[in-house]
Amino acid sequence: MLQEESDLSLIIAQIVQKLKGSNLYSQLERQAWASLQRPEIKLESLKEDIKEFFKISGWEKKLQNAVYSELSVFPLPSHPAAPPEHLKEPLVYMRKAQGSWEKRILKSLNSMCTELSIPLARKRPVGEQKELLNKWNEMGTDEPDLSLFRPVYAPKDFLEVLINLRNPNYENGDSLSFRTHLGLIQVPLKVKDIPELKECFVELGLNIGQLGIDDSTQVPPELFENEHVRIGQKVLAEQDSAAAQQYIRQGSPTALRAELWALILNISSQPEDVLYYEQLKTNVIQHDLLVDSLIYKDVKLTASNDDYYFVFEDYLYQVLLCFSRDTSVLSHFAFNSASPPKSYIRGKLGLEEYAVFYPPNGVIPFHGFSMYVAPLCFLYHEPSKLYQIFREMYVRFFFRLHSISSHPSGIVSLCLLFETLLQTYLPQLFYHLREIGAQPLRISFKWMVRAFSGYLATDQLLLLWDRILGYNSLEILAVLAAAVFAFRAVNLMEVTSLAAAEKKNHLRELKSMYLDDIVKIHGLFWLF
């Protein structure tokens, strides 16, 4: 009991510390000062009166939302004596693997740099700056020669690294037994089993109404949809983050989604946020970074060719180019197993005073990265708001999909969860696919790394991402991936090669799948 209490007070102290530096704090201070003029504020009961004022005017709610936001992001409680690396990643072997993966990426980036004789960063001449400013809303029409650029890595390269992960303290013996894990991931991380998943995702149970299922043709709207919309409007009126997060577990009505996500992520477009975005835009105009070309190439290869997202090509540049320069993103590395790559000013290699993070936000984009932003364009058309939402989604969720860690929402755990679910509950299918050299993870890995963006129709994808926000976890990606295999099990049993499994419409047709086909017919967890 004492330990819990001291843990709690530690967390509270840390959150207070964090919030003290925030804009909200200064706003609250200003409001408190201004409230002194109000008649109901009396000197003898100053504290209570101000508190009451905050409650009535909605400022207390804003503070609540901010605290809730911090709690959602806050890493799991750890020992007070634990060093900061443990916050990033407690397991040494994982840290080491991430470290060497990063070295490889950086090496690849540097060699591309040298090969093409392009500096990592350069200041644009004034003429070029003017030109870019004029073209800011249609950078997609630019056709720079990107043929020599290649993505620094693709998901399948990353998968190979994960497959080779080993815990040096773990000996699983040479003999195969029924306990042997037959999948590609060979590290002993704890993942939830079906009973635990059912408990965790209780709102996805068959007996509870869902959007994406219970609002489709056969169910009359009075039964579920209308009431659900009404409650959603109420949640928005109350401006309560925690309530919104609970509500969205059952899916969000299309018209309310943009506001709900902003509420859950605690994003409100203040003038300073718009200014910050404009500042980033200025940075883009003034300096050209090598990663910009990588971003261009990625957008041209992925989003520009996508049926749903090609329309928003220009927004993607506007978001991603600014994102690369946003140093506020660096703070998330405190709880990310990854570390921002360091580069040195020319000629000062190894001298710490001349070290800079490259790119400024520490995130090197990989093939498909722009697909994290694309679906958001259906919700937000104001660039600075779109930017804020994406940045928050990245530092809360997406970073976990491309760094090596033991976190339950990290990509390693998701892969293991996927394989375990399949092996435990669909052993025949799993074994068959393995025998024909079509390890299921090789097919589903790219879906999970991209959080299914580009693989599901947008309206279904948004329903999926509703649940990611609602449960503050990415585990649903692994469960959905397993459910897709289960749904197509019959067809997949007939397939005779990896190429056939991927080629045949069974899995290519994800885009025409409806979540309710998978979920309703079987019930997501009762599938197994």
């Binding site: 029409t141 943009a258 060719n305 996508d306 049926d307 329309v311 364009c377 259906f378 937000y380 947008t458």
Partner: protein
């Protein structure tokens, strides 16, 4: 049981031919005994012309109405709609109600249009009222964006002036005729781009009016960002959404610059809200039905005919839809793989409705297909059904009161619901 359906076509498109073949129909030439002829618009002119003396027998069906041009020629469409509005006004119908500026409340869905050279003076009068406006010149008889240009100065259309010495008044053949319409220079933009809507509407009979709307319409985006700037008036890539034009620009063959109508719906609901989006789609259905009602009295309701129209609609930034034109022969060319599938299914569903059971047709049938064969079509308006319920519902729904039970919901069109107003 009669033999197999014998078909002819003068349009060599795989989406058509594959559909005929999959039904086991037999190809014949037009000189032989045929049951089904999918004609181009030139052929239909010949078939029904007075000289031809063609008599279709009861077991023959064609895919055009004899005088479809009342709807599909730009000038005649406008003429018929104007006539229809005046008639409603004369009989005191509440549909013809106008606002304080004299604009029709419910029937203002075609941009202000004049015929040239016939209405040249009227046009000049209108032009002078707002001299900074842009107008679009379209040749009456052409398609695919051919011959269209934008003007913002009277001097640019001098040769259509009736008084001009250079006018081709003498050779006033139909081919020289143009329409000039107020250009919608505030189109709704998505991702900064202009787009229009292509919707397919099947009419099986005009009197009583029975029409179906294909649920899988699409949006056609321009490849270049939109700008109303006068310097770009000549840049057709900015202004004209026809694929025939955009194909020559920075065209992508995977998505073809097209969005499904359900994407549009998702985007609008997410960014603008559900009510305004539903209202927009209701209005679109409304204007299609009104345009058909406008031409119904002058249409030759030949029982051997059905027709699948391609409606082009533009939405402005106030979310008001405008009817641009109606195509009698919507393109059956496929620019992407998705396109091919869509058009194949379109023809398939059209044939299922027009030629019931795929058997030798009898043009005397009641043209009421069972619900199961509609495929991706939804009933847009059925005059027979509607008349059962009384005409006053029409007015109530137009005045924004509750529209009554939804006619049917569908997942594919993002629940685009067709109202049951009359």
């Amino acid at each position: 049981m009669a033999g197999k359906v014998k078909w002819v076509t003068d349009i060599e498109k795989s989406v058509l031919i594959n559909n005929f073949e999959k039904r086991g129909w037999v190809q014949v030439t037009e000189n032989e005994d045929w049951n089904f002829y999918w004609m181009s618009v030139q052929t239909i002119r010949n078939v029904f012309s007075v000289e031809a003396g063609y008599r279709l027998s009861d077991d023959q069906i064609v895919n055009h109405f004899p005088n479809h041009y009342e709807l599909t020629r730009k000038d005649l469409m406008v003429k018929n709609i104007k006539r229809y509005r005046k008639e409603l006004e004369k009989e005191g119908s509440p549909l013809a109600e106008k606002d304080e500026n004299g604009k029709y409340l419910y029937l203002d869905f075609v941009p202000v249009t004049y015929m040239l050279p016939a209405d040249y003076n009227l046009f000049v009068e209108e032009f002078r009222k707002s001299p900074s406006s842009t107008w679009i010149m379209k040749p009456c008889g052409k398609a695919q964006g051919k011959g269209i240009f934008l003007i913002n100065k009277l001097s640019q259309i001098k040769k259509w002036s009736r008084d001009s010495k250079t006018s081709s008044f003498v050779s006033q053949s139909n081919k020289e005729a143009y329409v000039i319409s107020l250009y919608i220079n505030n189109p709704l933009l998505i991702g900064g781009r202009k787009f229009d809507l292509r919707l397919y509407v099947l009419v099986s009979t005009y009197r009583p009016l029975r029409c179906y709307m294909y649920k899988l319409g699409f949006c056609r985006f321009c490849t270049v960002k939109y700008t109303p700037s006068t310097s770009e008036l000549d840049n057709m890539f900015v202004h004209l959404t026809n694929v025939a034009i955009q194909k020559h620009g920075d065209y992508n063959h995977i998505h073809g610059g097209k969005w499904t109508v359900s994407n549009l719906r998702l985007y609008l609901e997410s960014t603008r809200g559900k009510e305004v989006t539903s209202k927009l789609f209701d209005e679109i259905h409304w204007i299609i039905v009104q345009s058909l009602k406008a031409v119904a009295p002058v249409m030759n309701n030949d029982k051997h005919c059905f027709e699948c129209y391609g409606y082009d609609i533009i939405i402005d930034d106030k979310l008001k839809p405008w009817l641009i034109e109606v195509n009698a022969s919507p393109s059956l060319t496929s620019s992407t793989a998705n396109d091919r599938i869509l058009k194949y299914n379109l023809i398939n569903d059209t044939l299922n409705i027009a030629v019931p059971n795929g058997e030798i047709p009898d043009c005397k049938w009641n043209k009421s297909p069972p619900k199961e064969v509609l495929g991706n079509y939804e009933i847009l308006y059925d005059e027979e059904l509607a008349q059962g319920d009384g005409a006053d519902r029409e007015l109530r729904s137009r005045q924004g009161q509750s529209l009554g039970p939804r006619a049917g919901r569908s997942r594919d069109s993002g629940r685009a619901v067709l109202t049951t107003w009359k």
